[in-house]
């Protein structure tokens, strides 16, 4: 059967999106593949379809439990029953069952942590896998060294395994990150696909303002005059809360969104945003995982993104419907200092290294530091991994190097902000691509007529009112 026919048969789509066909064909030729495709552009299909052709189990390693659950749900919606998530949610009995029947599943999702367990490794070594997928592969590099040490260990495991082709997937990666992925996963002469990073319908604004207060008054005026839906990115939960309250007071339908909210609340906000009940979301960078709203018209950064990749990913949420959209970055002198402070906030310090050593010499488990709240969970994970691999001196040097790398990434972002040339050209060049054509209203430096893109905010949008419990109950179960 032709690939298109299989695509239609299993997923009901009649054509491929850019890159999917090339990636799938390479996989079927048993090549290693590195594919960079933006979120919401059918990344998962690159392994979903081959699974039906290969007729062997596909192993997908995914770093985030919530993301894994999303993918499992998605496959189930397509009617696939032979899908399992082998993760820490399983009880001991469930895990034993899953492991026992593992070869009968078509899709096996698992976490890096799980892959390191001996019984899991033994089971996988006995099986004939059709494909191994490393999802969010940039975790190996971009945040990987600090946030996901377990991902590094996968590299070690893969090199021992007599393995099938490997597919590394990511939404964002610079050439440096791609190099890290290639090396850590030991990809063999991989086929590489990278989507066109330029999004011509997103117009790149940059506005320089005096200080925090100027930004606040600029933002207030801006959201009163222009139309959403939009996302405002800020640097802290507290700031998100403050802006959200101020916008609400001005009668603008807004919600704050950050990792401090429970899972239900976060889903409620996403749903309200998608259903058009909210015009603005004020978010820390926790927002975005899994959100798929087509008509986001504006993305504004109140503070500097940590790096260019984050910036691209965040503004990339605008204009998925192809309509003109605005990305505006607000900058005041010295913003990079705050950004640097924030990006290194979750790194372990030299004091933590000493403390780790001290606990070891007292024969106390270093995890005590975590329990005492002396440092965050991710910071501890990093520290713990490297302290087991290297000497104290090496770890100190490594942490120092990591901090410098993060500073450098902020400086690269700063260069984009400060440039007097075309911002778009710079951004695209950063990802190793060449800009084909400048759109109209390209960027701040090429000149933007904001009036042509901005939509005027129409009359007060209707605030959603509560209805009586009886009516709500009726609506929920029987529809309107």
């Amino acid at each position: 059967m032709e690939l298109e026919e299989l695509l239609y048969k299993h997923f009901g789509y009649s054509s491929f999106r850019p890159g999917q066909r090339e990636v799938i064909e390479a996989i079927l030729q048993e090549k290693d593949v590195m594919a960079l495709l933006p979120t919401g552009m059918g990344k998962s299909l690159c392994y979903q379809l081959p699974a039906y052709i290969l007729q062997k189990p596909v192993l997908i390693v995914s770093p985030l439990l919530s993301l894994m659950q999303d993918q499992v749900e998605e496959l189930k919606r397509f009617g696939e029953k032979r899908v399992v998530a082998l993760n820490s949610f399983l009880s001991i009995t469930e895990k034993r069952n899953v492991l026992h029947y593992l070869e009968q599943y078509r899709f096996i999702f698992t976490s890096p942590e799980m892959l390191l367990q001996q019984q899991v490794q033994e089971k996988l070594a006995q099986m004939k896998l059709g494909l191994i997928v490393v999802d969010e592969a940039h975790c190996i590099s971009q945040w990987g060294f600090d946030f996901r040490p377990d991902y590094l260990r996968i590299g070690e495991w893969l090199s021992r395994l007599n393995r099938p082709p490997l597919l590394a997937l990511s939404a964002t990666a610079t050439s440096k990150v791609m190099q890290d992925i290639r090396e850590t996963l030991s990809l063999q002469a991989p086929f590489e696909f990278m989507y066109n990073v330029d999004r011509p319908n997103i117009h790149l604004g940059r506005i320089v303002l005096g200080d925090k207060a100027d930004k606040a008054s600029w933002l207030m005026r801006h959201v009163k005059e222009t139309a959403g839906p939009g996302i405002l990115y800020v640097s802290s939960r507290k700031r998100a809360q403050q802006y959200s309250e101020a916008f609400l007071q001005a009668g603008i339908r807004t919600a704050a969104y950050h990792a401090g909210y429970g899972a239900e609340d976060r889903q409620f906000i996403q749903q309200q945003f998608i259903d058009g009940e909210l015009d603005w979301i004020v978010a820390t960078n926790a927002f975005g995982m899994g959100i798929n709203k087509q008509d986001i018209h504006q993305v504004i950064h109140e503070s500097m993104p940590a790096n260019i990749a984050n910036y691209m990913q965040e503004i990339g949420r605008a204009g998925r419907d192809g309509e003109s959209a605005l990305a505006i970055l607000l900058y005041s002198d010295g913003d990079e200092e705050l950004a640097k402070f924030v990006v290194t906030g979750d790194l372990p310090t030299p004091q933590h290294v000493d403390r780790y050593q001290e606990l070891l010499s007292q024969q106390v488990l270093p995890a005590q530091m975590l329990k005492n709240g002396e440092l965050g969970e991710t910071a501890f994970r990093v520290l713990d991994y490297w302290m087991q691999q290297e000497t104290t001196e090496q770890v100190r040097a490594r942490l120092n190097h990591l901090a410098l790398e993060k500073y450098r990434a902020v400086d690269e972002m700063l260069k984009i902000i400060k440039t007097k040339d075309c911002i778009r050209e710079h951004l695209v060049g950063y990802f190793g691509q060449k800009l084909q054509k400048k759109p109209e209203n390209c960027c701040e430096n090429c000149g933007i007529h904001y009036d042509e893109i901005k939509k005027v905010r129409l009359n007060e949008e209707k605030k959603i009112e509560m209805v009586l419990w009886e009516s709500r109950l009726q609506q929920l179960l029987l529809g309107n």
Binding site: Q69, E73, L468
Partner: protein, 342 residues
């Protein structure tokens, strides 16, 4: 509501315990001391209402109470309520929490209900795919089999559930506002729920207060559903969530050995635990095991004396009682107090 609840707990613990004891009650700490406090001071309804309550939130409230001159806290953490505080506590309404029996399980009930309602709502709209409000695989598995057991594909389940919910809520002794609150924590097709912040803003109260009003409504609802036979669907969702065994695991093990005829000392040796720990278990047994007799440890006359002393001195403090009844051990005193007046 949070402040009112705290006032009520402080009132009951007045002069007898430290302020931390109140915190442990709200967090639902499963230690012998807290479990005994629950029984001694009749704090059952508040147990484990807020398992995630940050200590800072609690401390802030205490600080506020001190500023208001509602209570005074000593260096040691012991406190007493001042006149104004006692007055305020008198003015608080009666709450109908049942923390002792649900211990956070009300959230399991609500997670089941939420996912069922969300599924049925999408089915009504003929939309097959949605992102489930509960990610917990055990909740998902439970709901899946619930829906299948009730042949949801036939499309009658919506009506049945609607009728049950409407009927139970209608007569529930809870304000219309609280019922609305519960309904807005549910979501459906194109009907997102409201966040705690949004609900609290609307109700002009703190997020914590909205959450407490929600928990109280669920406790009342759960007790109603489990006592009657009129709500089979909801009853099924509430199945297994009311805690039946009220002892800590460790106390239960001690009870089993005691039943086999071992003495306190022997149980201590077998379990490699300190005698005082085993004694804690016996106090727990005295409190929560109606068939447990304290007779082998204390005579009836002695028990009588303890009660008289407690009344006379207006206290349950062991130190004072021990001074009054020098020939009785602390263990004996605790057993009597735990068993309660017969």
């Amino acid at each position: 509501m949070f402040h009112q609840i705290l006032l009520q707990i402080f009132q009951k613990l007045n002069t007898e315990r430290t302020i931390s004891a109140a915190y442990h009650v709200l967090k639902g700490k499963r230690s012998g001391q807290t479990i005994q406090d629950i029984g001694l001071f009749q704090l059952h309804q508040y147990f484990g209402l807020l398992p995630k309550l940050p200590r800072t939130t609690f401390d802030e409230a205490v600080k506020l109470f001190m500023q208001y001159s509602w209570l005074k806290v000593q260096e040691s953490g012991h406190f007493h309520m001042e006149k104004l505080g006692l007055q305020r506590a008198q003015q608080t309404p009666t709450f109908f929490f049942d923390g002792w029996h649900y211990r956070g399980n009300e959230h399991v009930f609500f997670a089941r209900l939420s996912l069922i309602v969300q599924s049925l709502s999408h089915q009504t709209a003929a939309v097959r795919s949605f992102s489930p409000i509960s990610r917990d695989p055990s909740i998902q598995a439970w709901v899946r089999s619930f829906l299948q057991d009730h042949h949801y594909l036939q499309g009658h389940l919506q009506q049945q559930l609607l009728a049950e919910c409407a009927s139970v809520l209608k007569n529930l002794p809870v304000s219309a506002g609280s019922k609305q609150l519960v309904l807005y924590r549910l979501s459906g097709y194109r009907l997102p729920g409201w966040t705690w912040q949004q609900l609290a803003d609307e109700r002009k109260e703190s997020v914590l207060d909205s959450q407490l009003a929600f928990i109280e409504s669920l406790h009342i609802l759960l007790n109603e559903v489990q006592q009657k036979n009129d709500y089979p669907l909801l009853k099924q969702m509430a199945q297994g969530l009311r805690v039946k065994i009220l002892l800590t695991d460790s106390a239960q093990q001690t009870a089993q050995l005691y039943e086999k005829g071992y003495s306190i000392e022997q149980i201590g040796q077998i379990r490699k635990l300190k005698q005082s720990t085993i004694e804690d278990h016996f106090v727990e047994l005295a409190m929560y095991e109606p068939n447990f007799s304290i007779g082998p440890f204390v005579s009836y006359e002695e028990a009588e004396k303890v009660w008289q002393a407690s009344k006379h001195y207006q206290t349950k403090k062991l130190k004072i009682l021990h001074e009054a009844l020098k020939d009785m051990s602390y263990f004996q005193l605790r057993l009597v107090l735990a068993k309660g007046e017969v």
